[in-house]
Symmetry: C2
Subunit: 111 residues, 2 copies
Amino acid sequence: MTDSNLNNLFQNLPDKISEELITILAENSHVRIERIVSTGHANKKGFWYDQEEHEWVIVLKGEAELVFEAGQSIVMQPGDHQLIPAHQKHRVEWTTDKEPTVWLAVYYQAK
Amino acid sequence: MTDSNLNNLFQNLPDKISEELITILAENSHVRIERIVSTGHANKKGFWYDQEEHEWVIVLKGEAELVFEAGQSIVMQPGDHQLIPAHQKHRVEWTTDKEPTVWLAVYYQAK
């Protein structure tokens, strides 16, 4: 599903939501482009995303920390981007609670 | 080629360049993600991009106008995004000369 109503990525930002807000902006069999809004969300300790697809992700507003199972971690601020290869286990350690964090994520086929 | 040195999309913005600056951020057979920096660039009248791939594009800094052969035009400001289906002919009518315009473009296979 494409949300053609969301013409601007910084529109309709919620103040505080119980779950992350995910909007699919474009999608076909090769790629899925999502806006993800976090308001202080984080994954639980011990949880890891383990994805079939590659993910290229950028933070465009707010701040967040990604942690990788291999041990690295990165704090991401607006403009910072990261490629997360398929099956590179990772989690969101925290997102700021001072403002909404806006991620743009591009998931695409690994092979 | 992936430019792993460009960790932040707003880094290394040129003031004035003769041609648009294109940096490939991630790429495989399904997708190519590019940062494009324009400093007042535009396509010539009569020129149309006619692409084999779909293009999802967003302006993240600056301002620009896209024109479509079918007649529509859209002024894009930071956060505004647009899906340009394969073979939808379009051109950049203008980009602001007041500051660099930063585009993020995701090209992906149409079929």
